[in-house]
Symmetry: C2
Subunit: 393 residues, 2 copies
Amino acid sequence: MKQIAILGSTGSIGCNTLRVIESFKGEFGVAALGAGSNVELLAEQIEAHRPRVVSVNDDESANKLRHELKRRGVASQPKIGIGVDGLCEVATINGAEIVIGAVVGALGLLPTYCALDMGRRVALANKETLVIAGELMTRAAEKSGAELLPVDSEHNALHQCLRGERRREVKRLILTASGGPFRNSSKEEIENATREQALNHPTWRMGEKITIDSATMMNKGLEVIEARWLFNAATDEIDIVVHPQSVVHSMIELVDGSIIAQMGVTDMRHAIQYALTYPDRRPAELPPLDLTALSKLEFFALDAEKFPCVTLAYDALRKGGTMPAVLNAANEVAVAAFLDGKIRFGYIPRLIRGACEAHTPQPASTLDAVLAADRWSRDWARQHIYGHHHSQS
Amino acid sequence: MKQIAILGSTGSIGCNTLRVIESFKGEFGVAALGAGSNVELLAEQIEAHRPRVVSVNDDESANKLRHELKRRGVASQPKIGIGVDGLCEVATINGAEIVIGAVVGALGLLPTYCALDMGRRVALANKETLVIAGELMTRAAEKSGAELLPVDSEHNALHQCLRGERRREVKRLILTASGGPFRNSSKEEIENATREQALNHPTWRMGEKITIDSATMMNKGLEVIEARWLFNAATDEIDIVVHPQSVVHSMIELVDGSIIAQMGVTDMRHAIQYALTYPDRRPAELPPLDLTALSKLEFFALDAEKFPCVTLAYDALRKGGTMPAVLNAANEVAVAAFLDGKIRFGYIPRLIRGACEAHTPQPASTLDAVLAADRWSRDWARQHIYGHHHSQS
């Protein structure tokens, strides 16, 4: 029985990972679960999967969890860790072979680094980890021989397309983008888009942060940075094509002009299962993709004018060092402020540009360095928002 | 310098092969060329590529070729072989590493067998070879360790999709079909289609025989049989999906539900180059595929009612032995008779069905056995056409 540790077990990826594990009936065991404050769901997961170690965000959640487990009559309680230390305990638990990295935000950095450093396979759904600290993570994986497998559907697709190819014979990685809810909107409509409009994603059901990132297309920009590190690609080798149907999950172009594409249903369980069973492919519980039931597949060029976040991401990647961390942090603050009604939709890219322009990139060679840049950017962005909108914290 | 022998050098595949060889400026040499009666073009190819051995269909063509070479002042004349013996000399010429199998019809069988038997890589564009004698060819290749690489765009696509996959993890091979000129025609319109209508293929420019096969969709049926042998697939593992744009050249479905597709421009040089340089991929002279310039990609289920040839091919493959040879031969006679104005378009499948129903399949374990079935079927079909139409030979 292969033991799995999940960082972020109560989120969308975490829950889907547990569904995949259940579908394999006894082949995978759950060694450890890292969550935040959703103790009811975590207690349920503990009851079903009996991990030895779990983690929550703070003491209050830990107490609630103990209480909830008692209420449910769970006999053998797991060890309960707290915060980032707790997540690191989850990631490094004895006997786990695969770590699912699905914590949202910068919190996942250290536990993911620890898992890679000790040579564990990491199935990574946490984009920020590679955006902020791609150099560190890939260096750690290379040193220890750890496999870093993408759970993002786009990067998972690229991983599949690259299986039979030699890296030097690959000319381009082509990330597909649904185009989000504003694909056909005018610049003005996008500028003043409401919360409801921005949260109405055409093809994928996801969390709020990533749904807004899809609307600004920063999500695709972050994926470009992610692809750079996952596949050791030059910035110019990574392209984006808008594909509203989200059936082609991504493609590669070979030097001989051939394009290899991966297609599938829009369900995260596919990529999760792929990362769990790799290099094997195993029958899935998902419905098959019926190509003849689709009306058509379309491909459009990206309109960089309408979606300036993409260019900001490419620029940050080219500048390198701590710049992508600053881009990412400013984006997080901007998206939260937009969701909170503090800034207009069109202000998101302007805020990010401001942060990037104000930053002098440093080498991203230590976790401290990238976390310092992350903090600097958050502070800069928050000050800027409040300065601009005269609202209080 | 890798030496190449081309069976069928003056046909479409042969000429494109020489273009690819020229584009590699000195990396490939032309050891031998096998042609039919187009001696002007063959002489031109001899002048440009200086093969040591060539072959034509008969003594008359050989004399014409000698005269033409003299007229052009070609100093060192190649050895000139005749008929199937000449083609076998081309296929087995000393020093050639790759043999291009692009002779039309059953004539290619023996030379292809000889090349495979001596362990040479065969880049196969001659469908009939595998339809008639798939078991023999693949057994010969297996025994000698010869590589059998498909030059057909569909099978070449499948070969590319399968590069990184394990055969047992592949659930389906999905051949794409343009649907031909009668995709949107009624059963009645197809029944009485004219020669001009049938020759008007929407996406590919090819010879007349294969263009008619595309219109009846027998071409796809023959490709199903070809795929069975190339990829050692069960009949039920091979599917067809109609894709009018011919951008996706074919796909595979894995057991986990993932679909891997190969896309490219519709130019045979891609598949030829792939077969020449495999396992390497090399930069091509072809224009890249611009997905954003395409309007859309569509996929439809095949209408087996309208295109009965496909079911006939599946049935022949299931019955096995010499049955596919009978199917193929009856089809060749029917298509020639249609092009010659002797039978209606709708009569093509009926004639093939008649031949298959009249045939008791034998084991296809020797070339003699399959060639006897081929002859039997041609005779049956010719007799049937003339009996039916009261016309003379």
